[in-house]
Amino acid sequence: MTEPAPGAHLAQLNVATLLHPFEDPRIAPFVEMLDPVNSAADGAPGFVWRLVEEGEGDATGLRPAGEDVIVNLSVWETREALWDFAYRSGHLEVMRRRREWFRRHVEAHLVLWWVPAGHLPTVGEALERLSDLRAHGPSPRAFTFASTYTAAEAARHLPAAVPSACP
């Protein structure tokens, strides 16, 4: 287990392309899991923040990456906290059934990057990190679970690239 890096939080974005419209009955099992899984996230150890649409419980109504692409943007204290939530909670069941609801992405669909604690990433910033990962592969700027960089490595490698403060 790694200690939380002082002053750094881990941001994650994942995108998922719906196989059917969100209202389609074939998507319903996914929609039913949204509230319990999101509540679990809010109460999970190391959870900091997740993007929600104003007045809604989640961000599924926001489609910044395309009409049929839902986005999931959140911030965590450590990589382990995010990993445990993603793969060692009720969220794993959603992941297991992902092929029933989402198109398989040939390109990367998940990106991780470090942000200064207190900074809430914007959707634009998140999509830039995903583009970076897709264009250049994993680096301290944008990486994946399989090729992780620590906050210290990120800080060392990109002193100029630390995102600006909260908008």
Binding site: D84, Y87, R88, G90, L92, E93, R96, R98, R99, A146
Partner: protein, 226 residues
């Protein structure tokens, strides 16, 4: 210490019983408790527990077992848990881990989850052979123990009646690959266990992942009057 040396440390029967006892508890175990459980003197248990720690099979820490802290709470006691690192020996050298990781990577990239689950369910069924679906939680514990899952029965809310009891598993036999490709490999594991336990019997396997455990639990089937 190489894997084969570490494993050789388990050859001593007392040491092996101590290791198995600590591993089976799934929590920190003190010297007194381990000595009592295995039926040896405390000093002998301490010696062997430290040998096991030296070999990297156990990890040790210190904790005040009384739960008190501050002055007068007493000296912290030494406690042991099983080390997370895995040891394996293959003679001659074989490397199925790399093969599994490469196959999983290719399956992940090609999106072969469904096909993998079909194969896993079929394998589970063939392991079960002609036997009926698993008949109860105690039988599930036996089946899962034989496959290395380290199952234990966890009482539910209505523990008097046995209602809500589930079988949880401390070990994931596919741990290393499951960590790298969780949805793919955990889905495969669930399908394997569905085949092994059966999906239309009195108990069923269901995904209920928690940190540090296997992703699957076995529980009484709902809407089933067995």
């Amino acid at each position: 210490m190489t894997d084969i040396d570490a494993i050789a440390v388990l050859q001593d029967p007392v040491r092996r019983r101590l290791y198995e006892y600590v591993a089976a508890q799934g929590r920190e175990v003190g010297r007194n408790e381990a000595a009592e459980a295995v039926g040896v003197a405390r000093t002998l248990a301490a010696h062997h527990l430290d040998r096991l720690t030296g070999a990297g099979l156990l990890e040790s820490g210190s904790r005040r077992l009384t739960g008190r802290s501050g002055p007068g709470a007493g000296r912290p006691a030494k406690v042991y848990t099983r080390a997370r690192v895995e040891r394996s020996v293959s003679l001659p050298a074989r490397d199925y881990r790399t093969a599994a990781e490469l196959l999983a990577e290719a399956a992940e990239q090609a999106g072969l989850d469904a096909g993998l689950c079909v194969a896993a369910r079929r394998r589970g069924e063939s392991l079960r052979g002609a036997a009926a679906p698993c008949g109860g939680l105690d039988e599930a514990v036996e089946l899962l123990a034989a496959r290395g899952y380290e199952p234990h029965l966890e009482q539910g809310e209505g523990s008097e009646t046995g209602q809500g009891a589930v079988v949880r598993m401390r070990n994931c036999p596919f741990h290393a690959v499951a960590e790298r490709f969780p949805p793919l490999v955990c889905g495969m594991n669930l399908a394997l266990l569905e085949g092994l336990i059966g999906t239309d019997g009195p108990v069923r396997a269901r995904m209920d992942a928690r940190p540090g455990e296997c992703c699957v639990v076995v529980e009484a089937s709902k809407n089933n009057e067995h």
